[in-house]
């Protein structure tokens, strides 16, 4: 049983990674990865919403009629997203200000609804927790790598700490939306190359 739980957990990290393999949840992936701080905060916020809603939905799945499962899931997800929004605004106002409307937009992140539909509504709670942790960490690490690439080339810094000196001419395109597509493309390409070699 432990090996199965571990398999559920590992699934999201690599084999079915939400961003680079399933390519879902693209809106926050492209929009907020211009600095590592933003990327990490978005990853953690999304993981929290994913974990809490997978727990609640897997607990109450037998009481939710099939016809209204999607609106029910959205209601539950929206509750946790609103909670996260208030919480960040109250205790991390700087992060809340820089992520602004992308926090409420977690509601429509298809990663979260997708996992409820594909996993939490069909599996027991302990497996849903493993799945949510794996998917959440899988989502977060890709956001962090992506935002590190963009912040490094676009501003010459990581986590707001200057790495490259003043001689470096920042590639502004990397922190603009176009830079998100370019870095994501490169990242997916690298992952596919690694996978192919593995086979």
């Amino acid at each position: 049983m432990l090996t199965r739980l571990f398999k559920d957990f590992k699934n999201g990290l690599w084999r079915e990674n939400p961003i680079i393999v399933l390519v879902i949840g693209m809106c926050p992936t492209l929009a907020v990865t211009n600095t590592v701080e933003n990327g990490l905060a978005m990853g953690i916020a999304t993981s929290f919403v994913l974990l809490s809603s997978e727990i609640v939905i897997s607990l109450f799945k037998n009481y939710i009629p099939n016809n209204v499962r999607i609106p029910s899931f959205i209601l539950i997800i929206a509750t946790f997203v609103t909670f996260t929004d208030y919480f960040l605004k109250a205790f991390f106002p700087d992060i809340a200000a820089s992520l602004s409307l992308f926090i409420p937009l977690i509601v429509v992140n298809c990663l979260i609804l997708g996992r409820q539909e594909a996993f939490a509504s069909k599996n027991p709670t302990h497996r849903a927790i493993a799945d949510a942790l794996g998917m959440g960490i899988g989502f977060t690490w890709v956001l962090v790598v992506l935002s590190a690439m963009r912040e490094f080339f676009g501003m010459g810094s990581i986590f707001g700490i200057e790495i490259l000196g003043s001689w470096y001419q920042p590639m502004v395109i990397m922190i603009l939306p176009a830079g998100a597509f370019i870095s994501l493309g490169i990242l997916v390409g690298i992952m596919n190359a690694i996978k192919r070699r593995g086979n």
Partner: protein, 185 residues
Amino acid sequence: MDTKISKLVLTLTVIGIISAVALSFVYQWTNPHIQQHQAEARQRAIRAVIPEAEEFEEVEKKGNTFYEGFDSGGNRVGVAMIASGPGYQNVIEIMIGVNINEEKIYGIKILSHEETPGLGARITGEEYKSNFVDKPFGDYTVVKRDTQTDLEVEAIAGATISSRSVTKIVENAVKQIQDAYGGGA
């Protein structure tokens, strides 16, 4: 079929009620903190745009909220207000502080904006904001070279639209303040 529909309605209603109750507790818990952060940010902004003021007072005039700043002797040294207008991507909100007696702007502070990072976002930088420090009231021209008169504003390279937007907001705010405080009085 009827019983089924009632069950669907009941399910969604129950979830909705539970969510609403839970969130109202969260709101009560977090809202004082949120209010406090906003008030602090506003205080800091007013302090930044009326440097000589020690005490502040909120005043409603002609449908706008103004913040009057008083020095330690109780004299009104300046008036600040929050002004906003369209930027390049979204609304830009600024705090502006003026000296009414001398008809000049003390300075501005950008409260919120969504301008392009690295380009338009430089409206928050000292270099651009210094355009409005100790500036006389009037109609400003945005120029793409060094400023030659007091009524010129030097644009940020590559972000002329953002530079113009802020200038426009400043002009309108000055007019509103003059309107409310009756010219030089």
